[in-house]
Amino acid sequence: MFARLGQRLLTGSAVVLGVVILTFLLLHVAPGDPVRLMLGPTATPEQLAAQRRALDLDKPLPSQFASWVGRFARGDWGTSIAKGRPVRAVLGAAWPATVRLVALSLLLSYLLGLAVGVVQAARSGSRTDTLLSVTSVTLFAIPGYWLGLMLVLVFTYWARLLPAFGAAGFDSDFLTGGAFVADRLRHLILPLATLTVIGIGGAARFVRGAMLDTLHQPFIMTARAKGLAQRRVIGRHALRNALTPIVILLGLSLPALFSGAVFVEAVFAWPGVGRVLVEAVQARDYPVVMAATAVSAVLVVAGNMLADLLAAWLDPRVRSAAA
């Protein structure tokens, strides 16, 4: 168990380091000069050079990278070139919003997807199964940014029920207690629904497949032969065994979910890491891009590891295969 954990930690850190190196190289290979963007077209060469020196951009690449890693590890993430605020403050304000959104939608879409997939597998081949299959394929095919727009169209412009934007606004700062929570929830509903609806489609498809695989195994026949009720066969015997691949997929779907969140955050002006990243990339805001990619890589790797450990805890076979 511990050997497995150690190995996962090692490969996980290698991935994070790789992402950071790649990002660093890409930023420096790409055309576009942050200093020029910062000072504008009227800057003289002397001003540009001075600013470059101030930002350490005149040093050779390896030494720039080494000093960045050193400072990052010590907690000094630098200052945003575009905003002039400390990078830690920018990201510190952003990551809880992303985690809230992604974690909630992961939970909801897997719970609902599990229910749908189990119902489908239990009645495989029936009308209900076909209908639900078509629905889940359709949901899974919808791109998040478009579904988000459509939800805004229906619930904000037509029904006038829910706010589309403004999760980052200051309005809620003047609210207290119940009103504050209610306002936060109202802003959360549309982005969360967007990510969740799509997630349900993917989860249901996979759960159905995993359940069907399990239902065809001999021990299910034994359970049926013992005279167990369908409910018990599905709930106790099949679901328990189908859960392992489902949990592993849960971890693997994290990067996709995070990617989806990048687009959904753009649609709803959700103040998360995705939006910070998009803005920073467009502004050539090196320190923010570096830190944001590092943070998102850590989130993704940590999620994968969590799913892996969860799978090992659920299924003794996975545990022993690793040892």
Binding site: V15, A141, P143, L149, R208, T293
Partner: protein, 283 residues
């Protein structure tokens, strides 16, 4: 092929994809032929679907804020979106097959390095990478194709690697080696053709994925640039006129969802037919 069309999923997927491709190919015939033309903007903008503008020109899906016919833009957008999708999947296929085949056939350090590279690339957050690549260089269609291709080969490489490894131990390959076939020739002539079935399925699924991502990048303004229509930048411009002309955003989205569903269903049908044993594993 007939078996594939007898499968309802396969038939649906094939019909949708074929009609989109046909429409895109025959774009000048089925539309007004000028996706970026702006005539009398004041008289022709925001015409509702299924009605005619002040000059008596009929617009099946209405017009956008510049009075451009949405149907025309949709069909010309299909050229771009499908083209980008197909080309980027092609790039992914080339890379994935080459890397997977080499890693599967030449054991040892080469194989380990390539597999390590694949696993590493697989664990990178794809959208973050896409954003970086697309935002840092001047946005263009060629860039989108290469970026999507470069970030989409890993799954294919893994598939090909697995197939090649099992095939390499089969008697007919040993036979080919025994009669003196050179390794590269054995790989290209005997192993690869037999390893490509699962790749076709992966390509169908990858196409849907690539089209969605292209639209996403264009939606963020990092992909295909206006006035060239692509489904993504049509949705982006529809976003700004969501209140007075929702059809501008709805139409490309519906088209995109249809194509992605078609790819998914076609892929599923193909998989069941080519290899019934992997039914649920790869989705």
């Amino acid at each position: 092929m007939t078996r594939l069309l007898r499968d309802r999923r396969g038939a649906f997927g094939a019909i949708v994809l074929l009609s989109v491709i046909l429409c895109a190919a025959a774009a000048p015939l089925v539309t007004s032929g000028a996706p970026a033309a702006q005539r009398d903007i004041v008289a022709t903008r925001f015409v509702a679907p299924l009605s005619s503008d002040a000059h008596g020109v009929f617009h099946p899906i209405g017009t956008d804020r510049f009075g451009r016919d949405v149907w025309t833009r949709l069909v010309y957008g299909a050229r771009i979106s499908m083209g980008v999708g197909v080309l980027s999947v092609f790039v992914s296929l080339l890379l994935g097959i080459a890397i997977g085949a080499v890693a599967g056939y030449w054991q040892g350090p080469i194989s380990l390095t390539l597999l390590g590279l694949t696993d590493f690339a697989l664990s990178l957050p794809r959208v973050v990478l896409l954003l970086l690549l697309a935002a840092l260089w001047q946005p263009s269609t060629a860039l989108v194709v290469s970026v999507l291709g470069l970030t989409g080969w890993m799954g294919i490489a893994r598939l090909v690697h697995g197939e090649v490894r099992t095939l390499a131990a089969r008697p007919f390959v040993e036979g080919a080696v025994a009669v003196g076939g050179r390794r590269l020739r054995v790989l290209a002539r005997h192993i690869l053709p037999n390893a490509l079935t699962p790749v076709i399925v992966a390509a169908a699924l990858g196409l849907g994925n690539a089209i969605t991502l292209e639209a996403g990048l264009s939606y963020l303004g990092l992909g295909v640039q206006p006035p060239t229509p692509s489904w993504g930048n049509m949705m982006a411009s529809g976003r700004d006129t969501l209140v007075n002309a929702p059809w501008v955003a709805i139409a490309p989205g519906v088209a995109l969802v249809l194509v992605v569903i078609a790819c998914a269903l076609l892929g599923d049908a193909l998989r069941d037919q080519l290899d019934p044993s992997v039914r649920s594993v790869a989705s």
